[in-house]
Symmetry: C2
Subunit: 110 residues, 2 copies
DNA sequence: TGACATACCTCGACTTTCGAGGTATCTCCC
DNA sequence: GGGAGATACCTCGAAAGTCGAGGTATGTCA
């Protein structure tokens, strides 16, 4: 029974992953690894790299983010992702959508 | 951009499908076809049969529902699914989980 | 008789997910 | 110098999940 609930929660988390990623990016540009850490804090579960990097590429392809290589004197090169205006717009629209969705779902649970 | 939002909403709906199915069943036993109709009303999108029937079998396997063939004098035979006590318990627990989840998500969006 | 709605279910192609592996740099300690 | 571990990127392919299409059957209505 706990397994079932955990499965469901995992499902829910997965379904909002792109959304949560935009939320994390909204605070400022981040590189992939940092984003993974943020998401672990936000969602309580790590976003696997095999999921995260393709997701970020998708964002780029859809014009939601703009990536830039940040070459540093020290440490490995980092690719930082920043939200574009479109990215912000999609996020804002998604917040509204989410509100409507979670309200309508809440309604049918009572 | 609308496509992206629609994708996400579809994702969200899919992720709560088992949950919504239990919710629909909570009101009383239903057969698969009727459940599909309920879900279309509840979620605003049809649950494809190729998804729904395997889902119901999963419920049965996990002991959340008990199925019974209702042979009728008229009309095709129907398999009705009723929530078991465990099914009710899982649903109640899921409602709590969902509340926690949607709250925590709501928090990070503001 | 044909068309359509109800009602069940499965198959397999398709998509999505993600663990494991690969590459590279830097720091810290022995 | 060298090993361990953290940071940082990415890809591949097996595994899992999804679902449209197809199949079977009954009832109704024109």
């Amino acid at each position: 029974m706990e397994d079932i609930l955990q499965d469901w929660e995992k499902r829910w988390r997965k379904s909002v992953l792109p959304f949560a990623a935009l939320a994390a990016l909204r605070e400022g540009p981040k590189h992939g690894y940092a984003l993974a850490t943020s998401l672990r804090d936000l969602l309580g579960a790590a976003a696997p790299e095999g999921t995260l990097y393709p997701l970020l590429n998708g964002f780029e392809r859809d014009g939601l983010t703009k990536a830039e290589w940040a070459i540093q004197e020290t440490g490995p090169a980092r690719k930082t992702y920043a939200l574009t205006p479109k990215g912000h717009a999609v996020f804002d629209a998604a917040v509204k959508s989410w509100g409507a969705f979670s309200n309508s779902l809440g309604g049918l649970l009572t």
